[in-house]
């Protein structure tokens, strides 16, 4: 069995050794900005997550508690060991170090992990719980730690059906919002991967002359690489949910049609300049591209189009080379303006880092998820 004071003593020893030794002539400094609790389901994923936690040290040095849980093994066992995660960011600069406690639990001992985690948290720092895998919301660790965690990080793309997972997450969020306790920040890494798309579309309308077109959008076209578990469709639903919520579009009841794989959502918006009650209909088309084994499920293009009056087209397309995208704005009567932008596929550590940067609830994600959850409910399984 594990003794907390032993773990703490080992941690102290670790830092003491670190302070004395100068690995490669570099001083080692302790800096902690949060508690990161992560659950792995097997050895290989624990190893992969450990590597990600180490990379995260650059932006979020943390006390990481990585729990490897194997409840199906017979013999109950609970072990823990400590390590420092150090990173030399630039030559000559001091190393940045965080600390990691790995808990190995199997059999019936897995039920004790939560109590161990609670004793190991550094006081007065935020607590993020990272639950990769297909069913995070049913995870016993979430239930036990709910009272102390400030952020839950999941990835709906890990689910057996990403579209259903989106609907579940939206329902979970709604339940959480009704609860009286501290508001839980929810992060979906599927949302984090959409940031460059949101950013590039938003940039068109930072320009004063183009901003009014945002109120005139009639059509949205989103193409995506589908994936085997509807991950691409889930991503495009999140984008559609984001546009709907941000632009104040109104969903028409159950207004969804599916034709040859293309999902069409019907919404409405006020018809600007046509009187107080005038409305216009909007369509959002989610179009799968030909499935490819080499391509991971992802968004491949996003276009916003105004066709009533002055036609205007705002498109972001992923380039042939994966790390680039092209943005194009074309308003009738003006020359089209396009540019190539760097759009590197983020690593898992990049996505986590971006989400951990958030201190509070991500209101934009919350409303986007709410709308996407409704669309997902409408979709046939």
């Amino acid at each position: 069995m594990i003794d907390i004071s032993t773990i703490e003593r080992e941690l102290r020893q670790l830092w003491k050794e670190g302070a004395g030794s100068t690995a490669g002539g570099q001083a080692m400094t302790r800096a902690l900005t949060l508690n990161l609790v992560a659950r792995a389901q097997d050895g290989p994923s624990a190893e992969q997550m450990g590597a990600v936690i180490q990379q995260l040290t650059a932006s979020h040095p943390s006390r990481a508690v990585l729990a490897r849980m194997r409840p199906t093994l017979d013999e109950p066992r609970l072990e823990a060991f400590v390590q420092a995660n150090c990173l030399l960011v630039t030559q000559g600069a001091p190393q940045i170090c965080g600390e990691q406690i790995t808990i190995d639990a199997q059999g019936s001992a897995v039920t004790q992990v939560a109590s161990l985690v609670l004793a190991l948290l550094v006081p007065d720092l935020p607590v993020a719980l990272w639950l990769p895998g297909p069913a995070p919301l049913e995870d016993p660790l979430l239930l036990r730690l709910r009272g102390v965690i400030t952020r839950l990080i999941v990835d709906t793309r890990d689910a057996h059906d990403a579209v259903r997972a989106l609907a579940h997450l939206a329902a979970f969020q709604a339940t959480e919002a009704r609860a009286t306790r501290q508001v839980l920040g929810i992060s979906d890494l599927a949302w984090a991967i959409l940031t460059p798309w949101r950013e590039l579309i938003a940039q068109f309308f930072d320009t004063r002359p183009l901003l009014p077109h945002l109120q005139r959008i009639d059509q949205v076209l989103i193409t995506y690489q589908p994936g085997e578990r509807r991950e691409g469709l889930a991503l495009s639903l999140l984008l559609a949910g984001w546009l709907t919520a941000s632009l104040g579009w109104v969903m028409l009841d159950q207004a969804l049609s599916v034709e040859e794989g293309t999902v069409r959502l019907h919404l409405r918006r006020p018809a600007v300049g046509r009187g107080p009650n005038a409305i216009r209909l909007i369509t959002i088309d989610l179009i799968p591209t030909a499935p490819s084994r080499d391509e991971p499920p992802a968004i491949t293009s996003l276009c916003l189009r105004a066709i009533d009056g002055v036609s205007a087209d705002f498109c972001v397309e992923r380039g042939e080379e994966a790390n680039y995208a092209t943005t194009k704005a074309h308003v009738a009567g003006h020359p089209p303006i396009s540019r190539l932008v760097r759009c590197e596929t983020p690593t898992l550590a990049d996505l986590l880092a971006a989400e951990l940067r958030l201190l509070n609830r991500d209101q934009t994600f919350a409303t986007a998820l709410q709308s996407a959850g409704i669309f997902a409910e409408w979709l046939p399984a």
Binding site: A58, A93, R198, F205, L214, P335, I337, R342, T364
Partner: protein
């Protein structure tokens, strides 16, 4: 609820995005584009902004200089400049070619009316072809002698006002004048053509993250502000040291000197940030109003008092970090009997309710042992000795050091018990950007160019600030010129400045921090 038929005043898709808004498409005209600053700083900064997706589609650059180049030659030169100087390493060829589509070159003399007519045509053509909407930034990256002519020509060709409801801004590099009179004159010339909100006087020190953090540190933390005044603070030391000599800038430096080159701008900026009152808002005018109040409250040093408050030095030969350095007077471009100071230390008093009686010691010099910029606030010591049989002066005062470079961060020195002994030793608590945040900070020019394009002047210097700062500096120069004492090399390259600077502190019962 948003009124359903209201016109949008802000971009709703921007909510929740972690990076700030992108500026409107514009054209940046760089005067003196063949110079070092353009390829070493400006274009690498612009390219990095493009790489980070911070520049809008349509963004264009026109290089304006005398050399007979064409667009292709100019682009090649900039590309090698980016390769050599970008913090992100070599250019990404695909990205560069998209970025370079917007770069063109215009050959002309700064006093040639026809060249400005051509510039006007080129700008109109870019507005039509690349959607830059009449938005312009003019960047004066020329020697200061040309500023006046360029400003005049821009005005004469109607280029200080934008067509199509766009905006026009002008960025002026340092040095902004060489004394109070010339700074006023330059301001008058600028403001005869442009309005003050169009003018962005750049001091790249303000673009540094740690410099901006001074305000965050002071005004977003509750524990420091109650200690930030004459009751708790003994004195403040501001040091900006350089380990290099004048290198290939001898000709320029010999006409300038440390007081003009560093104190008038960078150190005065640091001083105002550390001493200012909380602004009523974090916006350009509110912040600059408070900064200028500090400068105006500085007790002037009259020409006849200069020897009492100011120490100057000039380096002789020596070595820095094992590298031999030629004496200042033997550098290329420097007069053999040069009277230009390469080191200056001064004591200033801010006559305000908050700071009355607290000396601010400023020092800056070349060929010093290390390149360091820091602000150290030294607090008063405790009034009596409670512990052990030790004299009171065995307790070192608390020092809060804000380090700007090279190891950006904040250090607090506190006294602590030595385990097992009745002894008190100072220990430092270190917060280093590099160890808490492993993410690289943007270069100062990236931040400043972006701010200018976004119309945010907070990190630029306003007219009254520049003039208030010169009004402190100019009488010191007058004192030196009228005094009989001649300056000769009085410190060895690689030392911490002239012995007189140490005596200057010792007179006050203080010492310079060893950095």
């Amino acid at each position: 609820m948003r009124n359903e038929n209201s016109v949008l005043s802000h971009n709703p898709l921007r909510h929740g995005l972690r990076i700030g808004r992108t500026p409107e498409p514009c054209t940046m005209v760089i005067f003196g584009a063949s110079g070092d600053l353009t390829s070493r700083k400006l274009v690498p900064a612009l390219y990095n902004l493009a790489r980070e997706r911070r520049l809008p589609g349509g963004f264009s650059v026109i290089g304006f200089a005398r050399r007979p180049w064409d667009d292709a030659q100019f682009r090649d030169l900039l590309r090698s400049g980016v390769n050599a100087n970008s913090r992100n390493g070599s250019v990404d060829p695909a990205l560069w070619s998209s970025f370079a589509e917007g770069i063109s070159y215009l050959q002309g003399s700064f006093d040639e009316a026809q060249a400005y007519a051509k510039l006007s045509e080129r700008l109109a053509e870019l507005d039509a072809r690349r959607g830059t909407g009449g938005n312009r930034v003019f960047y004066l990256a020329t020697p200061p002698e040309s500023y006046s002519e360029i400003i005049h020509q821009l005005g004469a060709h109607g280029l200080s006002r934008s067509p199509n409801g766009g905006w026009t801004r002008i960025i002026v590099e340092k040095p902004f004048g060489r004394d109070l009179m010339s700074a006023r004159e330059l301001n008058n010339q600028l403001l005869a053509v442009f309005d003050e909100p169009q003018v962005y006087r750049i001091d790249h020190y303000l673009g540094k993250e740690t410099v901006q953090n001074i305000l965050i540190f002071r005004f977003a933390n509750g524990i420091f502000e109650p200690l930030w005044d004459r009751r708790a603070v003994d004195h403040v030391q501001i040091t900006v040291s350089e380990s290099i000599g004048v290198e290939d800038r001898g000709g320029y430096y010999d006409r300038s000197g440390a007081l003009r080159d560093m104190i008038q701008n960078h150190l005065m900026q640091l001083l105002s940030l550390v001493a200012m009152e909380p602004p009523v808002a974090y916006d350009a005018d509110a912040v600059r109003d408070e900064k200028v109040k500090v400068l105006r409250a500085i007790r002037p040093i009259y020409p006849n008092e200069v020897d009492h408050y100011v120490i100057r030095g000039q380096y002789g030969s020596g070595s820095v970090s094992g590298r031999p350095i030629t004496g200042y007077r033997d550098e290329r471009g420097v007069a053999s009997g040069s009277q230009t100071e390469t080191y200056v230390a001064l004591k200033l008093f801010i006559e305000s309710w908050r700071w009355a009686g607290v000396p601010f010691y400023l020092r800056s010099g070349k060929a010093l042992p290390r390149r360091v910029s820091e602000i150290a606030v030294q607090f008063k010591t405790v009034p009596t000795m409670l512990f052990a049989d030790m004299p009171l002066n065995a307790i070192e005062p608390n020092v809060l050091a804000i380090k700007i470079q090279p190891d950006e961060g904040i250090t607090l020195k506190v006294g602590s018990k030595v385990p097992g002994q009745q002894q008190i030793r100072p220990v430092t608590m270190d917060f280093r950007y590099g160890t808490s945040f492993g993410v690289a900070s943007p270069e100062a020019y990236e931040r400043l160019l972006l701010d200018c394009m976004l119309g945010d002047g907070t990190l630029f210097t306003r007219r009254d600030e520049v003039e208030a700062s010169w009004s402190i500096i100019t009488p010191i120069h007058q004192g030196w010129t009228s005094g009989s004492a001649l300056l000769s090399p009085n410190y060895e390259a690689g030392s911490w400045g002239p012995a007189a600077a140490d005596e200057f502190m010792l007179r006050d019962g203080r010492t310079w921090r060893r950095l």
